[in-house]
């Protein structure tokens, strides 16, 4: 487990500064954070999250969306949906923000080496997958085919558009995007992301899949992957639950016997398969 500096009190946020604010889409943005002068940054693994604290407003768990190879800048991409994320959206360069973390389990980047890698993302679910993409792109030669299947609501909601184009051009990343609702100039796929799975080339018997999106999307994605012949132990999903502490004390993130904060958020699908089939678990 990666323990951050100051982990002796895992409940106290450490002060960071907003270094850059990047508007991504109409309701999403990326914050690049740097430690306060004189403070050390901490290493993190792809798939881990931080608890981000906006002074007096509150604290929320947000996946790290930046490059694990560049831990000195801590990057988070989020949607403005609640009081805290809206408060985060109002922050500007130089403003302070509290950080606790990194918490949770990582994507199986090393274990995937030598295999094809299929990333399946739904909406903002691309953000927690991006650190894994960075790492796979950084060692592109260690992997076989690398495919990203990405479903967004509309063409305007496509995240990291420029970067995906670059990776596609420079690193042999096969990207397939589909949208729920097309706009006039959209010439790509329309429909759910699971429809892309039968059509893309990868060797199902030597594939590691990493999936992040709404639970219903992940359930159907795994069904399609299984239909293609991907072994379930090679499928990993990242789950979301309410979290107040991030370290297993507050109880909010429980899903049956799992604490999503410390047993997850990244799980081998087999470990949560039965739970995902229970309503309101």
């Amino acid at each position: 487990m990666t323990l951050a500096a100051g982990a002796n009190d895992p409940i106290l946020p450490r002060p960071y500064r907003v270094h850059r604010v990047q508007k991504e889409t109409s309701d999403t943005f990326t914050l690049e954070l740097r430690p306060e002068a004189g403070q050390a940054s901490f290493p993190f693994a792809a798939g881990q999250f931080n608890m981000l604290y906006v002074l007096g407003v509150g604290e929320v768990p947000i996946s790290i969306s930046g490059d694990p190879g560049l831990p000195q800048s801590l990057v988070h991409t989020t949607r403005s949906v609640g009081a805290v994320t809206k408060g985060m959206g109002r922050l500007q360069r130089g403003d302070a923000i509290g950080v606790r973390g990194p918490f949770g389990t990582p994507w199986p980047i090393e274990a995937a080496a030598g295999n094809d890698v299929v990333f399946v993302a739904g909406g903002i679910g691309l953000a927690p997958l991006r650190p894994a993409l960075y790492q796979v792109m950084a060692r592109r030669e260690a992997y076989g085919r690398v495919v990203l299947l990405y479903g967004a609501r509309t063409p305007e909601d496509i995240l990291f558009r420029r970067q995906l184009k670059e990776w596609r051009a420079d690193f042999d990343l096969e990207v397939h995007v589909t949208v729920d609702r097309a706009t006039r100039d959209w010439r790509g796929n329309v429909g759910v992301v699971t429809h892309l799975i039968p059509r893309v080339p990868f060797d199902p018997y030597h594939t590691v899949a990493m999936v992040c999106g709404p639970e219903v999307m992940m359930r159907y994605t795994v069904m399609e992957l299984e239909r293609r012949g991907v072994q379930l132990e090679d499928v990993h999903v990242s789950l979301e639950r309410n979290m107040k502490c991030g370290v297993g004390f507050c109880g909010h993130c429980q899903m049956g016997p799992k604490f999503v904060c410390k047993d997850g958020p990244v799980f081998p699908f087999e470990k949560v398969r039965d739970l995902l089939n229970v309503r309101e678990v």
Binding site: P10, L12, G58
Partner: protein, 379 residues
């Protein structure tokens, strides 16, 4: 050797009062039984003279009545609405203060070093409950600093059970009526408030040495043991635990969850009364300028709708899913998480449920599965 320092000792009523006073003198904040609001609760005890005597209670599902005994016993009752988590894992706790400084802010921890606690009258079920919370809050990759600060130094005076209450089932859960470890001192109250004292630690022996006591006679020790053995057969409730975890985990779709949800008020009383329920939420507040903020941690309950809220709505929207979460966590998934059940058989959730929902009855019904229609008609 004239007397083994760790052999059973005996105290009388004055000795018990002196023990309380010795704890106070040693700088402990002593917490013990007190009669408040028509119930026996745990509260601060300033001196040995304050301990209530001659009280008992009548407990059943959704029912608690304080009563008088015909003797002057100190511990002639089972457990009340308070549990020790109120002090070890407080319901409201200021975690930190933060204040704006220029463009940044500074965070200042608020908990400090709380006064050492002495817990007087901890029943075996509650000792087990404290051990359950120890594993949750201290046993993981991180330790909760607030819990550690209170728990690590706490002095524990246990009281063995000889008169279980109407909702007790510690014998089923294997947590009582007799504790063998986990205490500094353990008392068994005999006739005329003569206590047999077991010593569980060197600091327990040291403290006992400061108050008038004598070696316990062999027949006193035998009588104390017989009284706790007999208590095993006087439990107001029972719960068959063999196979229960598996049965509950296989019963996610049991119709019984709907049935119990029809009676459950989602009021959270059970989770507040439960000595092992550990869930908390946080509340962030600011002053009017927004420049000074506080973060409070407060007890929370899986029975509230907000508990499972993620953007787009709550995961557990129906009361049946929330009751299922609570019961299966307590009796089944806690095993997977911590290697033991989260229930210690104290009976508080049964007594303090305003609808009189009985955990033992619900667990039995869910585990048994739906009663076939024919059998149901015969009844």
């Amino acid at each position: 050797m004239s007397h083994a320092p760790h052999g059973p000792r005996a105290l009388d009523a004055e000795g018990l009062a002196a023990l309380v006073d010795a704890l106070v003198a040693a700088g402990y904040r002593v917490l013990g039984p007190a009669v408040k609001g028509g119930a026996i609760v745990y509260d601060e005890v300033a001196s040995g003279k304050e301990l209530p005597r001659g009280f008992t209670e009548d407990q059943d599902a959704g029912r608690y009545r304080l009563g008088r005994r015909d003797d002057e016993a100190f511990f002639g009752f089972a457990v009340g609405p308070t549990s020790w988590k109120r002090f070890l894992h407080p319901p409201d706790l200021l975690r930190f203060r933060a204040s704006r400084e220029g463009h940044g802010f500074a965070v200042e921890p608020a908990d400090g070093a709380p006064t050492s606690l002495a817990l007087l009258g901890v029943r075996p079920c509650d000792l087990a409950a404290i051990a359950r919370q120890d594993r949750v809050l201290l046993g993981g990759p991180y330790a909760d600093p607030a819990y550690a600060a209170r728990r690590t130094e706490a002095f524990v005076v246990a009281v063995q059970c000889t008169e279980p209450g109407g909702t007790c089932f510690c014998a089923s859960m294997g947590t009582g009526p007799r504790a063998e470890s986990g205490f500094d001192l353990a008392l068994t109250e005999g006739p005329a408030s003569a206590f047999v004292v077991e010593v569980g630690s060197s600091r327990g022996a040291e403290l006992l040495g400061r108050v008038p006591n004598r070696p316990a006679a062999a027949d006193e020790v035998a009588a104390a043991r017989a009284a706790t053995d007999a208590a095993r057969g006087k439990m107001g409730r029972t719960l068959e635990t063999a196979g229960l975890k598996e049965a509950l985990q296989a019963a996610a779709e049991s119709p019984r969850w709907e049935a119990v949800a029809g009676r459950c008020l989602s009021c959270a009383n059970c989770t507040l009364a439960c000595p092992t329920c550990f869930c908390t939420t946080v509340e962030d507040t600011t002053d009017v300028t927004g420049g000074r903020a506080e973060r409070w941690r407060r007890w929370d309950s899986c029975f509230s709708l907000d508990f499972s809220y993620i953007h787009g709505g709550s995961v557990r929207r129906t009361p049946s899913s929330r009751y299922r979460q609570w019961l299966t966590h307590k009796l089944a998934s806690w095993h997977d998480q911590f290697g033991e059940p989260g229930c210690v058989g104290c009976g508080r959730c049964i007594t303090w449920c305003p609808a009189g929902i009985d955990l033992t009855e619900e667990a039995r019904a869910v585990a048994r599965g739906p009663v076939p229609a024919k059998a149901a008609r015969k009844e």
